[in-house]
């Protein structure tokens, strides 16, 4: 329970800090309240999806490995490359250009947070995923509808393998690149009415099953 309290408490405080920043910008007229609300909804979608991944993975880890209590994300998600990343966050080293640079950045963030280096890495990944989702939401809202935009964000964060968007490493940076590209090129897409896909519920169910399967494969060391 301690690790879950830590995870939830840290995100809650960060949410308050970000909400205050948004409120300040609105008060001095640098941001419209509607924009702040939209950014808040995207943040809730991103963190809500992350909470779903972490809770599900924690439950699977707890059940499968008989862990003494809810495990921390660092304990649960420990593949070879992730282990290397965690070590690099604590003691930065250039083992790869992109991952190495991200490790240095995460280390720097962790230094500010009372030497919580791995947390710094997680927050960096979450930050990049959040910015990507904001770009995605903005373009989808413009081309389709506000509702379709939030659905698109949730879908992106809950697709099979989306767990890697929250873990330290290069996937969040790749997602940021793709989202930026879509944002720029998406202007050329014609506006259209967002229609539900046929068998939408079945596809969502399938996506959920595969997402859980990938998360399980990650925590059991199969990937």
């Amino acid at each position: 329970m301690g690790e879950f309290c830590r995870f939830a408490g840290e995100r809650l405080m960060l949410l308050i800090v970000l909400a205050l920043m948004g409120a300040f910008l609105c008060e001095i007229g640098r941001m419209r309240p509607e924009t702040a609300r939209r950014l808040g909804r995207v943040l809730l979608c991103v963190w809500g999806a992350e909470a779903a991944h972490v809770l599900l993975s924690g439950l699977m880890y707890f059940t499968v490995y008989g862990n003494d209590g809810f495990p921390s994300p660092e304990t649960m998600f420990r593949t070879g490359s992730l282990e290397k990343m965690y070590d690099a966050l604590r003691t930065p080293a250039f083992f790869a250009p992109v991952s190495g640079a991200l490790a240095w950045l995460g280390h720097g963030i962790g230094k500010i947070l009372f030497n919580q280096y791995v947390l710094g890495g997680f927050l960096l990944s979450e930050g990049m995923t959040y910015v990507s989702c904001c770009l995605l939401e903005a373009r989808l809202r413009e081309r389709f509808s506000p509702r379709a935009a939030l659905q698109g964000v949730l879908l992106a964060c809950l697709l099979p393998g989306a767990i890697f968007l929250y873990l330290p490493g290069w996937p969040p940076l790749l997602f940021l690149g793709i989202a930026a590209l879509l944002f720029v090129l998406g202007k050329r897409l014609p506006k259209k009415e967002g229609k539900a896909l046929p068998c939408e519920e079945y596809l969502l169910l399938l996506s959920g099953i595969l997402t859980a399967a990938v998360d399980y494969a990650l925590i059991s060391g199969r990937i």
């Binding site: 329970m1 301690g2 690790e3 309290c5 830590r6 995870f7 939830a8 408490g9 840290e10 809650l12 405080m13 949410l15 308050i16 800090v17 909400a19 205050l20 409120a23 300040f24 008060e27 001095i28 007229g29 947070l113 009372f114 030497n115 919580q116 947390l119």
Partner: protein, 369 residues
């Protein structure tokens, strides 16, 4: 000031004090078996002037800070409260009585001030609701005893009130004095600076008196000077805090939350009144602050509340989280604005129940500190 306003202040003060005296009477009946004046006075003496930090405040009031000996560690307690106790006890030498009287006066003032602050944004019902919420905080049993809580409440509420009335000099002075009362007092710099910066951004002009927003840091600097004068080290208090009997260090709040959760398992006897409340109160307070933003409470309130909450939970080996959060005034300011009848009903009823439970435990000498 109208008679009506004065009557409202007196009523607010009476409301706050009477709730605590009601609990003292019930506690006297349960712990002493009777309501005789002697038993009541004995209970007040035992629980308001002797437990925990009270003894240390009285020692500082009587002997001041000392550079050597076992009482050198009293340096961790900020100077304003014991200084005022000493001042009030001049000529009588009755420090405990002076401390209790000072706390009573400050608490009455804090209730009246909170009423006035809430009246800036709402009606009398909302304002009295806020006074009730502060008075019935489950860990508010320290407000009448030899503790600095009442003085801190008076000064921090006064600071927020003056800030809202655009009296920056007065707000700065209250913040300065609050920072000399408890370490959290220096956090008042955040809402003050925020208010000043927002006004400058909107009006595009700077006023000299906006500099008073920085005064709370001045109070903290005075405390550092006291540390330096006595020990040659402005941060000597950190060393004392980290040692016996407090073992308090500064650590990441996530670790504090994880530690609190693990302590509930390691010390099941203490969990119901130390670790579980501290854990629950963190999440409750965070959600209240977010609700405050949603209900469009003044952003400076939420900012002060967030900084206060975060700072409080940076304490390693925390055992007084409930008492510390009594000083997080924005919680009462936001909760008083709740309008949904069902939520108000649940809030006040639940708080009353917890107020009774934890106060009773305190009066029965459980380790609530």
């Amino acid at each position: 000031m109208t008679k009506k306003r004065l009557a409202a202040w007196l009523l607010a003060a009476f409301t706050g004090l009477s709730l605590h005296y009601l609990l003292l009477l019930i506690g006297c009946l349960i712990t002493k078996g009777n309501l005789s004046p002697a038993s009541f006075l004995a209970l007040m003496t035992e629980r308001l002037t002797q437990p925990g930090d009270a003894v240390r405040y009285l020692d500082i009031a009587q002997n001041g800070y000392v550079a050597e000996g076992e009482n050198a560690i009293n340096l961790v307690f900020y100077p304003l409260y014991p200084f005022l106790v000493r001042f009030l006890s001049l000529g009588t030498g009755r420090y405990a009585l002076a401390g209790v009287v000072l706390s009573h006066l400050c608490y009455a003032g804090a209730c009246a001030m909170l009423y006035e602050l809430l009246r800036l944004d709402g009606g009398p019902r909302e304002a009295f609701g806020g006074v009730l919420l502060m008075s019935a905080w489950p860990f508010s049993m320290f407000v009448l005893g030899v503790y600095s809580e009442s003085l801190f409440l008076l000064l921090s509420i006064g600071c927020l009130y003056c800030m809202r009335r655009d009296r920056m000099a007065a707000a700065g002075i209250c913040g300065f004095l609050a920072a000399l009362t408890r370490v959290q007092g220096m956090l008042l710099i955040f809402p003050l600076v925020y208010t000043a910066v927002r006004r400058v951004c909107r009006e595009k002009r700077f006023r000299g008196r906006d500099m008073c927003a920085l005064l709370p840091i001045g109070g903290f600097l005075v405390y550092l000077v006291i540390n330096y004068t006595l020990h040659g080290d402005p941060f000597k208090f950190l060393e004392f805090e980290a040692g016996e009997p407090w073992y308090q260090t500064t650590q990441w709040l996530g670790k504090t939350l994880a530690d609190q959760a693990s302590m509930t398992g390691e010390y099941p006897g203490l969990a119901p009144y130390i670790y579980v409340p501290q854990l629950v109160l963190f999440f409750f307070s965070a959600l209240v602050l977010l609700a405050g933003l949603r209900q469009k409470a003044p952003v400076e309130y939420v900012l002060y509340g967030a900084v206060y909450l975060g700072f409080t939970y940076l304490s390693g080996w925390m055992i007084s989280g409930g008492r510390y959060l009594l000083g997080c005034v924005p919680l009462f300011l936001i909760l008083a604005r709740v309008r949904t009848p069902a939520v108000r009903y649940i809030l006040f009823t639940l708080e009353g129940m917890l107020f009774f439970f934890y106060n009773l435990l305190f009066l029965m000498a459980y380790a609530i500190m």
